[in-house]
Symmetry: C2
Subunit: 462 residues, 2 copies
């Protein structure tokens, strides 16, 4: 009576693409640019390559646009290209390390959108800097979620070029999307004073953000899971894959910052034998292990090697370049964690210069997550919740009469996005707490500057 | 250098479960109950079975709860049970017909959450009313996205019982989730005056909503896609599956409300030969076909047989039972469509009775989509956007001083949810328009009632 069927992950995201940010041609134009530029920036920063990302959007008429993004990043290995761009839920960012990408979905959704609205295939040219470079023309077989290789060419790479060029057409609406697209590039460059970012739009306008420093943040390193982030599924997988024959070895080899002494202490408290073979634990033991792990307070907190914050100096440089403010207060909080996932909040408040005075309900708030600018759903976001909560008068900051701009950057191994389209961030209490303290620290700093300035003015007038 | 991997759909939703409404134990408690009850109600209504759905939530201590939902619905066929409850992206609601379920995900996410937080497997007892009933104990193999059958028993079904019972444990927080959970049952019953709904909570409190009528809306029927909702992927699949050997037959057999005459006329305008074999169309032809289909104005609009609105009478009954208002204005708009997907808006405004006077920023707004109560993200939802836009003073309705309650129900073959957790609805212009007109119609109706009443009072006083 009921007709049962299973569908592939590609079919699911094809049918429900508005959930991934592809609601309509305006939003799709923005999302496509965002997804491709973020892939390019990840490919550079992960390997300490000063990013050089060039985006071109051409109007082909009939609402069809052609997008081309070129980067000087690490490139995509020859045999992975078809899957990287043609199979949904495939990628290299499923590890515990900060990166813009996390779902293994974004680039493919962009390609899929071009395929269904403009019958376009995607052209990818890439090289990892070796003797050859390779070109692919691909489509996605949606029902089976696998790539369709239309064309494949391997050519010599005498210049040892390394990078990726991706190009395809799609149905868009640049006229309506333009303000958000331009703002996306502008905000991206605020956090990346060490990157060359170029955008040529369909009107031929060149938007260019040249780097002003060679200094880059240290890249994030992949870490093992932290005990506080554990659940039964993770532990099951670890046990199935482990070669450790004792529980102490198992814990030391599989978890972040767990040494032999800590492991032995913990196992004693969890009443699990230190020499037991992990594979002999029954489901009662496993449940007790997981629950005890989450509450044992003898574990070292997660450290920040898996994160790559911008840093106070670079953040300041980026803000100064864009706004030339009279004063910028920046702060980077220490590493914190929610559910075992480490994160760091960086914040800034800038005053004066090119910053306009805005009405209180139109405050200038710039939000970033893993260096991705968030331009939608401000009022659902945790940052806005915190800003509304803070009593700014305590810091003698009058939001309605002073030229102020607020910046909040959250970097995490797992950003608590509420949506697949990465629009805004859920309000985790630990994250909320860190944002609040970061902003208050900056507020105090700005207040002190304004107080000094006021004093100096008074002295001067006498 | 980069480590590439693909993950299953189950692994994706396991890693990103907050995107499906499983952020934390409080929200999970609500979402689990919601998903199971919605499955039960669909199983009844789709087959005109007056629903009898009984939910029990037991506190097992240590934040672990056991949920049990029993229904008298159509049951799940023997061979489909493992996939229906153990394979993500599997179900019977992938068709073009109104139902609460659409993703093939909800029930499984609930089971998965119980599996990872409480090591629970799911117990399912079901029968489609035949000679046998069958019991399964299942888990989900997350990495491979397939069911693990722990136990399976087929037993005689002498009473020809038909229905489904599902039971498992999970880590929850009923104390915090309680207000939303109770509200969910209450709002569900408002739209279902023909259903018996029962909920026994961990404190032993019985919430009971008995039916007050036997009259049910006619179930929705599956329809073919409408030309306005077409895209290249859909057309490709139709062509691959079709046995039609001419374009006229192909259109008539594959699309909703397209007759031979309309098909011939359309093909002439699209400059595609009427006798061409669909499989001979090249990609240029297909793109022209799809684009022309979307703009050809000679197609009949989608009709409403694939929808199942509550109807003005039943909606009124449900509101009266719950609020005993002095007056209820209800309206059902005609069928409309967005992107080829038909939808109908039903709305009501109730005045007086048990309805309290609420401050304007805390208005009583009840939102429903395919009969699912939406209890989150009111301010991001399209309904709130419309309510804020309407000039209520024109209808002499003072929201801050009158006891008013607003009800909006959208039924569609594809509700434009913004999230996998079905929290709120995107603002499609066609939907916005329909909600606006429905509410204004009700507002006028209430205003007329109040004007009459005022007149009668004046006459009486003389
Ligand atoms: N420009 C590029 N340079 C190098 N590798 C790339 C590039 N673009 C994509 N890739 C590779 O392809 C993979 C898939 O990209 P995709 O955007 O689909 O998913 P993701 O970036 O991993 O996650 P998300 O969905 O969050 O964006 C990436 O993980 C990366 O390994
Ligand atoms: N109580 C039930 N009675 C009958 N069939 C059921 C019941 N619960 C689940 N099913 C079947 O199992 C399938 C999968 O349910 P699941 O909740 O995972 O997805 P869905 O309801 O199709 O979509 P959604 O993710 O939107 O809820 C359903 O499509 C239905 O066919
Ligand atoms: Mg990506
Ligand atoms: Mg369901």
């Amino acid at each position: 009576r009921e007709k049962f069927q299973s569908i592939s992950a590609a079919d699911f995201f094809y049918r429900n693409r508005e959930i991934a940010g592809f609601d309509n041609p305006v939003r799709a134009t923005y999302t496509i640019i965002r997804e491709l530029v973020e892939n390019a920036l990840d490919a550079c920063e992960q390997y300490s390559i000063p990013p050089d990302v060039r985006t071109k959007l051409i109007d082909e008429g009939n609402s069809i646009y052609r997008i081309r993004v070129e980067d000087n990043g690490i490139g995509v290995p020859y045999d992975q290209v078809p899957y990287a761009f043609g199979q949904i839920l495939f990628g290299s960012k499923y590890t515990l390390r900060q990166s813009r990408g996390i779902f293994g979905l974004g680039g493919k959704m962009a390609v899929l959108y071009g395929q269904i609205t403009a019958h376009s295939s995607v052209k990818v040219l890439s090289s990892t800097g070796g003797f050859e470079k390779y070109f692919y023309e691909l489509n996605i077989n949606v029902q089976e979620n696998k790539p369709i290789i239309r064309r494949k060419e391997v050519t010599p790479n005498p210049g040892r070029w390394r990078g990726t060029i991706i190009e395809f057409s799609f149905e868009g609406d640049y006229i309506r999307a333009k303000p958000k697209v331009v703002e996306y590039f502008r905000q991206t460059s605020i956090l990346l004073p060490y990157a060359n970012i170029l955008f040529i739009d369909p009107d031929g306008t060149l938007y260019r953000f040249d780097k002003i420093t060679d200094e880059m943040p240290k890249p994030a390193e992949t870490v093992k899971p932290h005990p506080y982030g554990v659940d039964l599924e993770i532990v099951h997988r670890m046990i199935n894959a482990t070669r450790s024959s004792t529980m102490v070895d198992f814990l030391v080899n599989n978890f972040h910052r767990v040494g032999a002494a800590t492991a032995m202490n913990f196992l004693k408290e969890a009443k699990i034998s230190q020499n037991a073979n992990p594979r002999t634990l029954d489901s009662k033991d496993l449940l007790r292990l997981v629950n005890k792990m989450k509450e044992y307070d003898g574990f070292q907190p997660p450290d920040a090697q898996c994160l790559s914050p911008i840093g106070e100096e670079l953040l300041k440089k980026g803000i100064i370049r864009e706004f030339r403010p009279e004063y910028v207060a920046v702060t980077q909080r220490g590493a914190s964690a929610y559910a075992g996932y480490p994160f760091i909040v960086e914040a800034a408040i800038a005053y004066g210069g090119d910053i306009p005075i805005t009405p209180q309900d139109e405050m200038l708030v710039f939000r970033f997550a893993n260096k991705i600018p968030l331009l939608y759903d401000l009022h659902s976001d945790v940052t806005m919740k915190v800003i509304k909560k803070i009593n700014w008068q305590r810091y003698r900051l009058d939001l309605s009469s002073m030229p102020l701009a607020f910046f909040v950057h959250i970097c995490a191994t797992k950003v608590p996005y509420k949506t697949v389209g990465k629009e805004y961030i859920a309000d985790r209490p630990e994250v909320e707490y860190e944002i609040e303290w970061a902003l208050k620290t900056c507020a105090r700093d700005v207040r002190n500057h304004l107080a000094k300035k006021e004093k100096a003015d008074i002295v001067q007038r006498r």
